[in-house]
């Protein structure tokens, strides 16, 4: 791909990602928020493809769009949320929230400006994001965090079942 095409794809994906992220926050219906969040996740997956991280793209689509968002939709369906049951915040709090996040982005822009000058860019090497080399890194350098992650997932599963179990069932 040439530079101009790649840059245009980047701009398109970024625009759609930021637009649908804003729509997640501002849409009244929770189901619409979930659907916009799925669009955002697919755009972030497209960025992973642009960065040559194909395996991470697949994992991202499976985990986020396939598992987590289905969980969100299922819970919204189970709780029967819609536009009418949506709680409303006062205008003062909304203005305060907007000002706070505006200040946050000013701080982020100020502190991250000039970061690109601090690093020297390496020549592109697409072999680091293959499954083989990622597996080597994960099971050589990060073996203990990997095992701890498996314990964490087990604990989360047990915890979710314990919390979600109805109280009348145990009697």
């Amino acid at each position: 791909m040439t530079t101009a095409v790649t840059l245009n794809v980047f701009y398109f994906l970024s625009f759609v990602a930021i637009f649908s992220a804003l729509m997640v926050v501002f849409s009244k219906n929770p189901v619409h928020s979930v659907l916009y969040l799925i669009i955002t996740f697919f755009c972030i997956g497209g960025h992973y493809l642009l960065l040559n991280a194909e395996f991470l793209f697949i994992v991202h689509i499976i985990v986020y769009a396939g598992a987590i968002m289905v969980l969100f939709l299922y819970v919204i369906m189970m709780l029967n949320l819609n536009k009418e049951s949506e709680p409303h915040k006062s205008t003062l709090l909304k203005v305060a929230a907007t000002i706070c996040s505006g200040l946050l982005i000013i701080v982020l822009v100020g502190s991250l400006k000039g970061t690109e000058l601090m690093m020297t860019q390496q020549p592109a090497d697409i072999s680091i994001s293959t499954v083989k080399s990622l597996g080597k890194v994960m099971f050589n350098d990060f073996l203990l965090p990997f095992e701890i992650t498996s314990v964490l997932l087990l604990a989360a599963m047990v915890g979710a079942i314990m919390v979600g179990k109805s109280e009348t069932a145990e009697r």
Binding site: M1, T6, F10, S14, A17, I18, A21, L22, V24, V25, P30, S33, L37, T40, I44, H47, Y48, L50, L51, A53, V59, H60, Y64, A67, I68, L71, F72, V75, L79, S85, P87, H88, K89, T98, C100, V109, L112, T115, E116, Q121, Q122, A124, D125, I128, L134, V137, M138, D141, F142, F146, T149, L152, L153, A156, M157, G159, A160, I161, V163, S166
Partner: protein, 103 residues
Amino acid sequence: MINNIPIDYYIWLAAALFTIGVLGVLYRRNAIIIFMCIELMLNAVNLVMVAFSSYLNDGAGQVFVFFIMAVAAAEVGVGLAILVLMHRNTKTVDINVLNRLKW
């Protein structure tokens, strides 16, 4: 492909997505939307990690993204279970009602 786009473009995109996540947490009162905005913030961090991993040719950043995804999945599972339990007791997902931790 990756060398065409400067790294600071990814930094600005991730900063914007993170700020939108913070805005959502502060702006909304629906607890499920707040969970979704936390997911958005985690994804902004993931994006900047993958970008630096690709630009510096270091696989460790991409492995960290796996761990962040695992933590996010665990967090969503437990969080939504707690939310369903609270909804069963209080019939609402408004965080201003859920703030007293006892009822």
